[in-house]
């Protein structure tokens, strides 16, 4: 589903992505962790076609991805942005219904039905008429998530999906990720929340100096656990992968 081969990306004089190889299959959920500034968001952006790469190949569902191909993917790769990026002039319902109408050609009633259903699923059934400025951080995040889901993507990229949520809402997002898995959506999640990661991940990886580290493979000999990377070390302490879900792509 997602296939990255030897992907290089240089930003501000350093290799943010240094030969990244990554495969994520249908229905698989991969959680990507690592300290801030290590290129996790950049990896999501290059997979979604919002950012160019210097070398390597990326494909989604066998379609090649390159800079500027974000539009041509037609919402097939949904991305939940860290800062939500909601359309400020549209209420929650229209934020979600706009792309299905414009890109998928749904009529207004059908697009609004789909948007209202997603808002209900995410516990925002009564917020459809609210503008983004009238929503809390957590509510904005769920509207942004619903906007992606409205396009029925085959790949979801979630950048810190629980950063603005309380524990109850975090469980709601975890349930939603489980639903994505059931719907055979390949999901990559950037998260600093170890509990959430443990709850949803089939596979947990980290980006360290531009390289992907499979935490399960590297754990026994990885000096990260020694304390050089406290958050990941903490995450590793919490994480117990279920063997049945731990198949590599």
């Amino acid at each position: 589903m997602i296939n990255c081969q030897r992907v290089f990306k240089r930003l501000a004089g350093r290799n943010v992505l240094d030969g990244v190889d990554l495969q994520v299959t249908r229905g698989e959920t991969m959680v990507l962790c690592g300290p801030s500034g290590t290129g996790k968001t950049t990896l999501l952006r290059v997979i979604s076609g919002l950012e160019s790469i210097d070398a390597g190949r990326i494909s989604v569902d066998s379609l090649p991805v390159h800079s500027g191909s974000a539009r041509s993917l037609k919402g097939k790769v949904g991305m939940l942005f860290q800062h939500f990026n909601l359309f400020e002039h549209l209420n929650a319902l229209d934020n979600i219904a706009l792309a299905p109408r414009q890109v998928l050609g749904l009529n207004k009633a059908a697009a609004h039905r789909r948007a209202a259903g997603l808002l209900d699923d995410l516990g925002l059934g009564d917020k459809g008429g609210h503008l983004p400025a009238q929503l809390s951080g957590g509510e904005k995040q769920r509207v942004a998530l619903a906007r992606c889901l409205a396009m029925e993507p085959s790949v979801m990229l979630l950048d810190e999906p629980t950063s603005a949520l309380d524990p109850a809402r975090t469980s709601q997002v975890a349930a939603l990720v489980s639903r994505l898995k059931r719907d055979n959506v390949a999901t990559v999640i950037v998260s600093h929340d170890p509990q959430f990661g443990a709850q949803v991940a089939d596979r947990m990886m980290a980006l360290d100096q531009g390289r992907l580290v499979d935490l399960d493979d590297e754990l026994p000999c990885c000096d990260l656990v020694a304390g050089s990377w406290p958050r990941v070390a903490a995450a590793l302490g919490e994480w117990r992968p279920a063997p049945a879900l731990h198949a590599r792509a």
Partner: protein
């Protein structure tokens, strides 16, 4: 001190009144056509100037700089006198003999001048819409056109409109420049009546009142239709 005898009755003489009414209507028509054309020109230039394609961006930047740094009167004269000479002789001849060409040349000159300024206003309005929203639109699969129409324009127009309204008032007042190509608009009518009657003050004061009333009405209407967000009106209302 010279003594001047005001004779307001000349304004009521049928031939002069007709000249003034025709001139006023032509001034309004010219302002409307030039304003609409300049809006289109400004939007196209602004889109080109914000385009990621350098081949669109640089020519648009150059065009705006050239147009903006030359007086509006020059562009009116250019379209009336110079453009027909630059075209193939048959086309130039057709323009010269087209009775409405003086109006068309005036409209194009004013529109080009105003379009350059409008493109600046529109470009600034467009870049105020966050890059994140544009990326979200791209990620949803929306085309550049859909993004512009559904995301950029609705948000940026609201912040741009007060400045655009100012430029439209300029266009209305700049119609008086077209007296230079003998377009029978209000200023031309004023000059005609003065040269016949030698009663310049009456007719000039009337024209001044017409321009002031037109500008104030336009400013009032635009400020009511497109209030500037966050500003307080002279009447104490605060727009949100």
């Amino acid at each position: 001190m010279l003594h001047y005898d005001f004779d307001w009755s000349i304004l009521l003489r049928p031939q002069f009144a007709e000249l003034l009414v025709d001139g006023t209507l032509r001034t309004l028509a010219l302002a409307a056509v030039a304003g609409a054309l300049s809006f289109v020109a400004g939007a196209l230039l602004a889109l080109a100037r914000t385009s990621p394609v350098a081949a669109l961006r640089w020519p648009a930047e150059l065009a705006v700089e050239v147009v903006r740094n030359v007086p509006a009167l020059f562009w009116v004269l250019f379209f009336y006198f110079v453009l027909p000479e630059l075209l193939p002789p048959a086309w130039g001849e057709r323009l010269h003999t087209w009775p409405d060409y003086v109006f068309a040349a005036a409209a194009m000159g004013l529109a080009l001048d105003n379009g350059a300024y409008l493109s600046d206003i529109m470009r600034n309005g467009m870049v105020k819409v966050s890059r994140g929203q544009r990326e979200a639109a791209a990620n949803c699969g929306m085309s550049v056109w859909q993004e512009s129409l559904c995301i950029l324009c609705p948000q940026s127009l609201r912040t741009m409109m007060p400045a655009i309204a100012n430029r439209m008032i300029h266009v209305f007042k700049n119609t008086s420049l077209c007296v230079a190509i003998s377009l029978p608009e209000l200023s031309w009518a004023t000059q005609q009546i003065e040269s016949i009657t030698f009663k310049g003050l009456e007719v000039t004061l009337l024209a001044t009142a017409v321009y002031a009333t037109g500008s104030l009405s336009l400013a009032w209407a635009l400020s009511r239709c497109f209030p500037a967000p966050g500003l307080t009106t002279p009447w104490g209302d605060r727009h949100v």
